[in-house]
Symmetry: D2
Subunit: 246 residues, 4 copies
């Protein structure tokens, strides 16, 4: 198995951080830069960023064609994401590009379109403690983690989370206020792999946490294109039984 | 457990059968009537039909509100199904109505929207034999069936079938021409349950087959609303830990 | 679909309750009698009990042959359950009998044998509050329940729970002390269905709780034999392609 | 992500190949040597072999402790495998070692013990054609494969295959004689990953086929230990809520 460099694109709505205030103080360059920075610490990753206000949201055909794994953070401007770009991203995921959806990205057009459900949930913002338990220690995304780890101040995301049952459930979160959440969920769609990871509220420095960084880095490698066969769809004219395999 | 009557609506595009020819000869009243008829043989089911060319495609708010399980057959006119009606049906599925998608319904707007993938597949029309194997004999949809049964003349639907991995895989089909297909697939979405069943090409009298009828009848009972809790989504203001449960 | 009466056998180790003290005060006739009693309130169920100290643990060939769904509560005497009886129960599960494993039954021979893993977990006994969240509102076991409900005093069972990923995850529990648990898990094995449900510590009157009773009653109906085909295993001498289906 | 060399042990019963005849002609050094040889072609793998008739079947504590992924081929002598060695292998799988079970290994003690079911199936030996379809092109085990490939002469293994529903289904086989089979199945158990792959009958040179070799090589990398957390089981004395995470 040859291991080559993975091309990663970190997409961020990048609106919260442009306004003076707490969020900007935590992420003066934007969350995408913080995320890109810790990913770049891994020699196997080549990382670029893209944001909503760039032309084509920074997700041109050329950028996507070169992207192995795309990370997605959005919140206040989901509705401003162009439907054509959403369709383009979806096509790339179905064709093999990995997609990592972060926090409030649960309500992004791209995630809802790939899940087929509302992706709705409960939420509460009072800075309570979140504890993430590793439910599946056999999963590559759990590599190098402790049995559980904490986000000291988190926005609560709680069940019922209206998603299809994930193909693998890696994390379940406990919240101080009495809620639970499937906080790390894996899905396969088409030839692509998708990981949803819930921590990442903009008002807390969550992407600076070592365990969170570890999860996201692991997820990038897990979501890398598998290069399985590209299916040929449509009409078959000759019964295959009489045709030798390729 | 009280067992009450289930309200079933059989929806059919009903276009093929309106043209003189082979299909009309097999299903002079339309496939929906044949399906409705065998379902009515079960005393626990109250069955109505609806078709594309009725006002609102026969799927008014009132009809859907009264429907426990909806069956869907469409093919040549998927594009004519109104997007608002599709959204209405989707909402009802997520709210608990069962949905049984038949044959070429794999390409219907409602199925693609609920799956989040292309739902594409291979196909070949030469009347070859299909043999359906029961993969999961523990599943209620397999009740009363033999280990395998055959459709003597079938349109081939073959893998790769571009759907999410089903929550349960009940049937896998073998085709004389060399293909296989996940022909009976269960999914949960929201509070609703979905069953996709591939046999049912319009040019063969497949819905008159006793095993096929058994599968569809079993599926209707399986897909009945579970009446699980209706989730409350959105903001929670008070930490639940300090609030007694209902 | 004809709905006939289900034959249910409630099996209990019945040792804790024989000793004077708190447990006996809560369950003077044994937990099995409390469970049998609320199940009998459903007209569709015909319920008997069986306990460890009866001959063949009350699980003779004849009793098992007549049992549609078996409930299992054991704790201090797992090792005393005869291996032959375990093999007999396992055979019946694989042949279609439903099995509902309660609380400390996670460590029973029968459950470990069917799961293939250690079924180990974390536990803590300090009477803390447990809150069960419905994760899958489409599931029949969630019928009639609120979004979440509580056990005011519970023994904590916490992740990592060493089981295979369940085929459906119905409940996740939150514990006051900081743990989470997959507290309601569905599995199919052979032609049989298995439900593991964790609440039920002997020192608290948990089986007298209306929501708990509802879950167990729902689970009995869900686990009823599906009467899918009984597979024929072993050598096939003639290629089926040339043999008409049954 | 650092990628280091994986230590692979290929275990073979090695009985068929010791008797003069067809099988010995195909695999004069034993199937394990053929398998070891193609795995060694990958620079990332360090491969050793072990066989039934070696002391401790070649699976000493030391060998297993150094093994990242174990391959298992057995058939006529399943009963001769020592129960203690089986328990030792199982413990290692639950602790993270990958396990790849080949062909007639479906009936090995280790596989049955990990699955919890009979692992029984249908079989027919007449050298018919098998066609393996890739069902999940997103899966790493499908890397570099065509949509389908063939084994020109194969022993038929057919459904019903009495296993738990796999966590991922990668291949489904079509057989000329009219059967289908879930021929490539992934499972997680404990911290370990298991892949069952059905082609590999001893009387045909199946392990010399390039696609088969590709699948097995891919599977070795997929099954590599994830190094997720090692769970701590048993009693917790202090409520975690008041204890900071590690």
């Amino acid at each position: 198995m040859s291991v080559s460099t993975l091309n990663v694109t970190v997409w961020n709505e990048f609106r919260h951080e442009k306004k003076p205030g707490l969020i900007q103080e935590i992420y003066p360059q934007g969350m995408h830069q913080t995320i890109a920075e810790f990913l770049r610490a891994d020699a196997g990753l080549k990382v670029r960023t893209a944001t909503l206000d760039e032309p084509e949201h920074g997700l041109t055909e050329a950028v996507l064609a070169e992207t192995d794994v795309l990370l997605w953070w959005g919140h206040m401007a989901h509705g401003e994401v162009n439907d054509e770009i959403v369709a383009r991203v979806k096509q790339r995921v179905l064709d093999g590009m990995g997609l990592i959806v972060l926090h409030s990205g649960h309500f992004s057009k791209i995630f809802k379109s790939l899940m087929g459900t509302t992706c709705n949930l409960k939420w509460r913002e009072m800075g309570e403690r979140e504890r993430l338990w590793v439910i599946d220690p056999s999963h590559p995304i759990a590599e190098g983690l402790p049995e559980f780890f904490e986000v000291p101040h988190s926005e609560m995301y709680g069940e019922r989370f209206d998603i299809p049952a994930p193909d693998a459930l890696v994390f379940v979160s406990w919240y101080q206020g009495g809620n639970v959440f499937r906080s790390g969920c894996c899905f396969s769609r088409g030839r692509g792999k998708i990981f949803y990871f819930s921590p990442g509220h903009e008002s807390y420095p969550i992407y600076k946490d070592a365990n969170i960084q570890r999860v996201i880095t692991n997820a990038v490698f897990w979501a890398a294109p598998s290069n399985g066969p590209k299916p040929k769809f449509g009409q078959e004219k000759v019964p295959l039984e009489n045709v030798p395999a390729e």
